[in-house]
């Protein structure tokens, strides 16, 4: 398993600004992911954070809007850029550990973002 922390836990932001969310894991992990959970909806994968290279984005998500960094095996950031009220969501970091079974992921507590 893995223990995942995220900062901030919640934030209220103004339209047009950007917010960077941090994800820290207590052990080295093979893969890190970022999800979005919009109000009343399920989790949607934004991107896979790749160590030392550009993230792999899912359809509908672009680097200019959601730049991601992963400088090492335990840390990643997601930035939500030029925010609008439609970006109000819970953003979740998840990881797959080296000993973990295929597909099994562990999730952080999430960052609840409200954009005014």
């Amino acid at each position: 398993s893995a223990v995942i922390s995220q900062k901030p836990s919640r934030d209220i932001c103004q339209r047009g600004t950007s917010l960077t969310i941090q994800c820290q894991v207590d052990s080295q992990v093979t893969m890190m992911f970022w999800y979005r959970q919009q109000p009343g909806q399920s989790l949607t994968l934004i991107a896979t954070a790749n160590q030392g290279s550009e993230a792999t984005y899912e359809s509908g998500f672009v680097i200019d809007k959601f730049p991601i960094s992963r400088p090492n095996l335990t840390f990643s950031t997601l930035t939500v850029s030029n925010m609008s009220p439609e970006d109000s969501s819970i953003y979740l970091c998840s990881v797959r550990t080296s000993g973990g079974a295929y597909g099994e992921q562990f999730f952080g507590p999430g960052t609840r973002l409200t954009v005014l």
Partner: protein
């Protein structure tokens, strides 16, 4: 389009009632299957998983799920629910054609168990 469907969005049960939450997926190839649960104020955690073998898998807290390949289903069951089972339940699929690298989630089912 490939997807995961959970038919019940909200379920209300009394304690000791039996529970079955439906999950269907549309992927044609090999998949790994999961149920995750999110208790109020807590983060998402794994309830149970299926990779291969016995299609009836048991998870934590008395939950079990049955994989029926012909029906593309992975329904979650519990014979007798408790108030503490109040939570949101998500079915998730990891498709083999992604190398099992990704999880695709259903829309979730909110379960309320009244004491």
């Amino acid at each position: 389009a490939q997807s995961v469907s959970q038919h019940n969005h909200h379920v209300i049960l009394s304690e000791a009632a039996s529970l079955e939450l439906g999950c269907n997926y549309s992927y044609g190839g090999t998949v790994n299957l999961f149920w995750y649960v999110q208790y109020p104020g807590q983060h998402l955690q794994l309830l149970l998983k299926y990779f291969s073998g016995d299609p009836l898998v048991k998870g934590i807290k008395g939950f079990e799920a049955e994989f029926i390949k012909s029906k593309f289903s992975f329904n979650l069951r519990k014979p007798s629910v408790q108030w503490s089972d109040t939570a949101e339940y998500f079915c998730a699929v990891s498709p083999g054609d992604t190398g099992f690298q990704k999880l695709v989630f259903g829309t979730g089912t909110r379960l309320l168990v009244s004491p």
